[in-house]
């Protein structure tokens, strides 16, 4: 559904994208992860024909956005941080305006979408008075306005309150499940992505450095097992167990997190620990996307 083949793009002295190839299958939800300035927004602009690659090419739904751009843009919903709204117009008038540009036939669509994203009480308020979170909700509604087959969402939950974040993530899941919408999400909020993405693409300095599902990445970047123990054991005494550890106070209780080489080591280690101190609880800390992100960057980025 979305492909990039050997794409390079330079802005003056800065090489923004370097020989980058990626693909997102129809109906997939894929996270595009990387630090600020790594080229995520540039890729969204390239996929929508706002930028011309210096080398390589991109396709969306089989179409080249530089040749058949209006068809690509008609099929795509885009949310980026830099694309603004008209401050002197109300939220409803802004969406009505974009509904005209996108040829939306249902006249009730702008209003119902605004209500869906939680702006039902602010339909007639000028956008100039909106908070960051409200603008983000409006941007999300605009991206969904024409019921697109592909969604490009650049930081869709940045600046949202917990309720807004939950609503956006739920909508992403629902659209993908019920309509088969293909979604590319750029975000720094890695924990949130875990709940919606099927696969992840990691980029750094315009280069694709890793990709895969969470399970594939976990298998590839399996780190030491982290065992978190709720115990009275003094840190000085913990050193005697011969494993690296970190100490943290959680709700007034001491938590020691030991780094073990292997999962098979856990029962024996716990038996020795229980023999030397009171233990109130213990669990293996699961490796999440955030830990993987840093592990991948540590290994792949020089």
């Amino acid at each position: 559904m979305i492909t990039a083949s050997g794409v390079s793009k330079r802005f003056g002295a800065k090489q923004a994208i370097r020989d980058l190839s990626l693909s997102v299958g129809r109906g997939e939800v894929v996270g595009l992860l990387g630090p600020n300035g790594s080229g995520k927004t540039t890729m969204v602009r390239l996929f929508n024909g706002l930028l011309r690659p210096d080398a390589g090419g991109v396709r969306v739904d089989g179409r080249d956005p530089l040749v058949d751009g209006d068809a690509v843009r008609a099929a795509s919903g885009v949310l980026t941080e830099s694309a603004e709204f008209y401050g002197h117009l109300s939220a409803l008038d802004n969406l009505r305006f974009f509904a005209d540009l996108y040829g939306v036939s249902d006249p009730t669509r702008p209003r119902s979408l605004l209500e869906e994203v939680g702006l039902g009480d602010d339909l007639h308020r000028r956008v100039a008075t909106f908070s960051t979170g409200m603008r983000k909700r409006l941007g999300f509604a605009k991206a969904l306005l024409h019921d697109p087959r592909v969604l490009f969402l650049d930081e869709p939950t940045n600046g949202l309150d917990p309720d807004g974040t939950r609503a956006v993530l739920a909508t992403i899941r629902r659209l993908n499940r019920t309509r088969g919408t293909t979604i590319l999400i750029c975000s720094h909020l890695l924990q949130q992505l875990e709940t919606v993405c099927h696969r992840y693409l990691f980029i750094d300095a315009g280069r694709l450095i890793e990709q895969g599902t969470l399970a594939e990445l976990k298998a590839r970047y399996r780190e030491a097992v982290l065992l978190e123990v709720d115990t009275d054991l003094e840190p000085a005494a913990a050193e005697a167990h011969g494993r690296a550890f970190e100490v943290a106070q959680v709700d007034g209780r001491r938590k020691l997190t030991f780094r073990l080489d292997d999962r098979a080591e856990v029962p024996g280690f716990l038996r020795r620990l229980v023999a030397s101190a009171d233990v109130y609880g213990a669990h293996v800390v699961e490796q999440g996307l955030e830990e993987l992100y840093f592990a991948i960057r540590e290994e792949k980025v020089a």
């Binding site: 802005f11 602009r45 929508n48 024909g49 706002l50 930028l51 011309r52 530089l66 751009g69 209006d70 068809a71 843009r73 008609a74 885009v78 980026t80 830099s82 694309a83 603004e84 709204f85 008209y86 401050g87 002197h88 117009l89 305006f97 974009f98 005209d100 540009l101 996108y102 040829g103 605009k142």
Partner: protein, 277 residues
């Protein structure tokens, strides 16, 4: 249908923006009232009321000697009273170039807001992400400046006609404004001048970051018009039908050349990279 809908949506949005920005709205209200009502109404009234005894009138009447032979001199010769002759000359000829300032100011202000303002507010990127071709976008933006600027000029012209004839009625007792030379000015020169001003502002807006900068830089278009004003007032260049038609023909050429030069902005990627990216 969908293309038309998008184009008119952008036109409506931009026209609506005129009322939302005082910097745009104020000159649109003040300049027409000054140049279209107060200046002509005041001048004509003063000439007819105090004309007979004023020295300025004698200076003005010296211009009559330079009036080229033709319909103007014929019309003037039919008026016996020197004050009526002076009022006729001022209303129908000397005011004409001032009128050019109205579409010029309006087109310049609206297009600066429409083109540079879109960039300044960060909304150009939103437009470029939409499935509207850059050609349609350009057309919509030009219409959004052209239609109000031309309508304002025509509306002001109507007000001027009412004001001048109303003020002069007690002395003239008939409608004497406008004369036929206004027809090519209003129907040909005014729209072409508005278009040239808009095209110039597209170039200016592409090179500056803000509405304010585009507005100030775009203001240089008044200079050639001021030359025309001076030429007309000193009697060097009477705004006869022939002169007006020549100005119109010159503007057609200017508009066509600028339109050709503007083609390079019709590439979306190039437009985005030069204006946003």
């Amino acid at each position: 249908m969908s293309r038309q809908r998008a184009v008119w949506a952008i036109v409506r949005k931009d026209v609506r923006a005129i009322g939302a920005n005082l910097q745009v709205l104020l000159p649109m209200l003040v300049v027409p009232v000054m140049l279209g009502v107060l200046l002509p109404g005041g001048l004509v009234w003063a000439i007819l009321r105090f004309g007979g005894s004023s020295g300025e009138l004698q200076e003005l009447l010296q211009l009559l000697e330079r009036v080229p032979a033709g319909s103007l001199s014929g019309a003037l010769s039919r008026l016996d009273d020197p004050s009526a002759q002076a009022a006729f000359l001022v209303a129908n000829y000397l005011l004409a170039p001032f009128f050019l300032l109205i579409p010029l100011m309006a087109a310049s202000t609206i297009s600066a807001d429409s083109f540079a303002g879109e960039k300044e507010r960060g909304t150009l990127e939103s437009l470029l992400f939409s499935p509207v071709s850059v050609g349609d976008l350009f057309l919509a933006k030009v219409l959004a400046s052209f239609l109000p600027a031309t309508a304002l000029a025509w509306g002001t012209f109507l007000l001027t006609a009412l004001t001048i004839n109303g003020v002069a009625w007690p002395w003239m007792g008939r409608v004497f404004f406008p004369t036929p030379n206004w027809l090519p000015l209003m129907l040909l020169v005014i729209p072409l001048l508005a278009l040239a001003t808009i095209f110039l502002n597209v170039f200016v807006s592409a090179r500056v970051a803000t509405f304010q900068a585009a507005y100030q830089l775009g203001g240089v278009v008044v200079l050639p018009v001021l030359v025309l004003v001076a030429g007309n007032v000193t009697g060097l260049l009477f705004f006869s039908t022939a002169v007006i038609s020549a100005i119109g023909a010159g503007l057609v050429m200017v508009d066509l050349v600028m339109l050709l030069l503007l083609r390079r902005y019709l590439d979306r990627a190039q437009l985005f990279e030069s204006q946003v990216g």
